[in-house]
């Protein structure tokens, strides 16, 4: 139990340093780098478990699997490099806190509930750019440091109910909220031009709902299907409404198959209509927006019955690009899990290698995920 408390403290310490993270260069575009509603367990399986995972925020029906009070949290540290037209940047690192969950059973009812926190879109970045301007007939060099710190969070309240034996339905309300602290510092090569410093607080809000079904055909085979619709993302800069961006409809489906008790194969497919955002982004001269597909699959082997080993693969398209080329991401994952405190604490560790290409950049990252699930 003491070890469990130590890890929780460690996770909280890591969480305190989150926010300033630059998850991906692609976070500069559109509404940001779109997050994954996965816990560490599912991430280690290439997010293939998302459609049937009670800890993921994708399918609200999966909440029906919850049998007791559950608390979970995760941290992700990433080590990145990327190559753009102007060169290669290496040794970027950051840590963030992208996921938390509290779930349980409503006393005296067959209804289960869950409240999730996950990153909907990450908008943290700090970029240096140099440009030339012609001002008053003279060429003036300008150097800009643009910093955005923050993210759009997805707060989900979900309930699940076992309608029939083996059929669970669920529904959830998603509240999109969050803010970014944005700064622009510009200096000029000509000292007659005074340095500029813009600081503003950009807040985001939106609403969505999701419905899902979880069908257990047998103890070996389960299917999950979910539908999610978000309205528009309202953006306000320094409390002044400035932009509405249509958000996508998301349809997902997946399965979980256990041919033998200690082997599990999972897969999830997700489609999102991110092109719905294209007109709004185009109206402000923003990035192109594309519909996205993502496919994740994973294999879990639990030979000892104590320490499952997980392998995962994920291919996903990314929705935003300033070029006609739609970026995509390929993840290979490896993970383990183990129990502590007599089974009241579950720890998951995942390591991912991410390759993101397209839209004028190529990005590589190692991502270390740490997750803890407490069953008090």
């Amino acid at each position: 139990m003491r070890r469990c408390a130590t890890l929780i403290a460690l996770l909280l310490a890591v969480a305190a340093t989150d926010a300033a993270a630059q998850v991906s260069l692609y976070g500069v575009l559109g509404v940001g780098y779109v997050g994954r509603p996965s816990g560490v367990h599912s991430r280690s399986l290439g997010s293939g478990l998302d459609a049937t995972d009670r800890e993921s925020a994708l399918n609200p029906a999966a909440v029906g699997d919850i049998s007791r009070l559950t608390v979970a949290a995760a941290s992700i540290s990433s080590f990145r490099s990327y190559t753009v037209r102007t060169g290669t940047v290496e040794e970027l690192r950051d840590t963030r806190f992208p996921y938390a969950l509290i779930a349980g059973v409503l006393p005296g009812t067959p209804i289960t509930f869950a409240a999730n926190y996950s990153i909907y879109a990450e908008r943290s970045f700090a970029l240096l750019t140099v440009d030339t301007l012609v001002l008053r007939g003279d060429t003036v060099f300008v150097a800009d440091e643009t910093t955005s710190i923050g993210a759009i969070a997805d707060i989900r309240g979900a309930i699940g109910w076992e309608l029939f034996s083996g059929v669970v339905v669920g529904g959830a309300v998603h509240i999109l909220t969050g803010s970014t602290q944005e700064e622009l510092n510009r200096v000029y090569s000509d000292s007659l031009y005074r340095p500029l410093a813009h600081t503003s607080q950009v807040s985001y809000s939106g609403l969505g709902f999701s419905l899902g079904i979880l069908y257990a055909r047998s103890r070996k085979l389960r299917f999950g299907v979910a539908f999610r619709s978000d309205n528009s993302l309202k953006t306000a800069r320094d409390s002044i409404p400035s932009l509405h961006t249509d958000l996508p409809i998301t349809v997902s489906g997946g399965m979980q198959y256990r041919p033998v008790p200690r082997v599990m194969f999972t897969t999830t497919v997700v489609w999102s209509s991110w092109s719905d955002a294209a007109p709004d982004l185009a109206a402000v001269g923003g990035a192109n927006a594309f519909d996205t597909w993502s496919v994740g699959a994973g294999l879990e082997l639990n030979r000892s019955g104590k320490v499952p080993v997980r392998l995962g693969f994920r291919y996903a398209q990314m929705p935003f690009s300033n070029t006609p080329d739609q970026p995509r991401e390929l993840d290979l994952a490896l993970g383990v899990g183990f129990r502590a405190a007599g089974g009241r604490a579950l720890f998951d560790i995942g390591l991912e290698r991410a390759k993101r290409d397209g839209g004028g950049a190529s990005e590589r990252a190692w991502q270390l995920s740490l997750g803890v699930i407490i069953l008090p």
């Binding site: 300033a20 753009v84 400035s242 923003g286 950049a361």
Partner: protein
């Protein structure tokens, strides 16, 4: 037991390693070069550069800020120039007491040390002319009043301005006793006038230090005094010392020259007043000093909703800049803590380099451009500041020169603002 121990050791090692990895990865290192236009979040930052005609309104000129006798410097401009300026200095009276407790044996000569802050090109052949003035000279003396005093009959010294004379130099001249024949009668007070002359018709000017500045011109008398006292006397008897009553063989007497220097108790300069300016013109400079108050009327989207990177105020002279030939006027723009008209208090900026200033050449008719970025930028951060600019020539009251420029009443040549700014909205949230 050993097996359990080794398991515990492996487990502890794993935890330690994991903790180290997490702690190492906690470091944030996220600042990276961007790549435009593919990954360039500031591509929507628009730098707008616009000349705002009619952006200066309700402008006025006021006089009387710093009179010539309170200025940090005074001016002497060569004879025949327009205008000719003359410096007038009256010194604190000397006392009759023994200098440093020594008895004065004789008054030998005088010395005048002129502190020259700046002088026009000395190679044209310039002379400083020192005149004896009546001690009645004061701050109300006019240029016309000085005419009888700046004559050959009262000229007591001529100092050729050396070619090597630089800024902040001292020019000294020793004057004979005959330069001030009425010195004792004038109760040990002296006054001098300083004029300037071009040897071969050249024109020039000199700026001299004053008592209100940091380096006033000094007036000294050279005295011969007793240096050694009788050996037979003790110190108590020194107060009643009568040299004639002491036998010559009982004392050792020597004499030395000492200098007794005085600072001015009044210094000023006079010149012929400038002709009136045009009806639609404003003025800055001269003495007593003029200032001009300009009120800024920029669109709200510039002052409130934009970040100004550069703002330049343009002034169109209504006539050639007046002043000493070859002189330069330093025009300065200040923000106001409150706009109450002529007596508006100037706002002191902690960063002096941020204060707008421009050099204006006498005789020039070119448009004057002065940077006022610091003033307009301050309007957005402090909404209580008045949108006003006070223009003046610094140091105030130290030069006869004056800049006259068209006011907002002359729509064709009214002052205008050239502003480079970035609108705060919209900014690149979802791009």
């Amino acid at each position: 037991m050993t097996r359990r121990r080794s398991r515990a050791l492996v487990r502890a090692s794993l935890w330690l390693g994991l903790s180290l990895v997490v702690m190492w990865s906690c470091r944030e290192d996220v600042v990276a070069p961007g790549s435009c236009p593919e990954f360039c979040p500031t591509r929507l930052v628009r730098e707008i550069d616009t000349l705002f005609l009619g952006s200066i309104v309700d402008d006025s000129s006021y006089v009387g800020y710093v009179p010539a006798y309170s200025a940090a410097f005074m001016e002497a401009v060569s004879e025949g120039s327009a205008p000719e300026s003359r410096s007038l200095i009256r010194y604190i009276s000397f006392t009759k007491v023994i200098v440093e407790a020594r008895e004065i044996l004789s008054l030998d000569s005088f010395q005048l040390d002129l502190r020259v802050r700046r002088v026009s090109d000395p190679t044209v052949g310039l002379e400083l002319l020192i005149y004896r003035l009546p001690v009645a000279v004061d701050t109300t003396t006019t240029f016309t009043d000085t005419e009888p005093w700046f004559q050959d009959s009262t000229l007591i010294a001529t100092i050729a301005v050396p070619d090597s004379l630089g800024d902040d130099s001292t020019v000294s001249v020793v004057l004979p006793l005959s330069a001030f024949p009425d010195f004792v009668a004038d109760s040990l007070t002296a006054a001098v006038g300083v004029g300037m002359r071009g040897v071969s018709g050249g024109e020039g000017y000199a700026h001299l230090g004053t008592r209100d500045g940091t380096r006033p011109s000094l007036f000294s008398r050279w005295l011969t005094v007793v240096d050694t006292v009788p050996l037979v006397l003790d110190s108590a008897e020194l107060d009643t010392l009568d040299l004639d009553s002491i036998p010559a063989d009982s004392m050792v007497v020597d004499t030395i020259q000492v200098r007794d220097a005085r600072q001015p108790d009044m210094d000023t300069y006079v010149f012929v007043a400038w002709p009136p300016r045009a009806a639609e013109a404003l003025a800055v400079g001269s003495a007593p000093a003029w200032r001009s108050l300009l009120r800024v009327d920029l669109p709200v989207y510039v002052t409130d909703s934009s970040d100004i990177s550069r703002a330049t105020l343009y002034l169109v002279p209504s006539e050639a800049v007046r002043g000493a030939p070859g002189d330069t006027l330093r025009l300065r723009a200040d923000a106001l803590a409150a706009d109450v008209g002529a007596k508006s208090p100037l706002l002191a900026f902690p960063d002096t380099s941020a204060t707008g200033a421009a050099d204006v050449f006498v005789g020039s008719t070119d448009t004057v451009a002065i940077e006022v970025t610091h003033i307009l930028k301050a309007l957005r951060t402090d909404t209580l500041l008045p949108a006003s600019i006070m223009l003046r020539i610094v140091p105030e009251g130290s030069q006869s020169g004056q800049l006259r420029f068209w006011s907002s009443r002359n729509t064709a040549f009214a002052p205008s603002l050239h502003v480079t700014f970035i609108p705060l909205f919209p900014r690149p949230e979802p791009q």
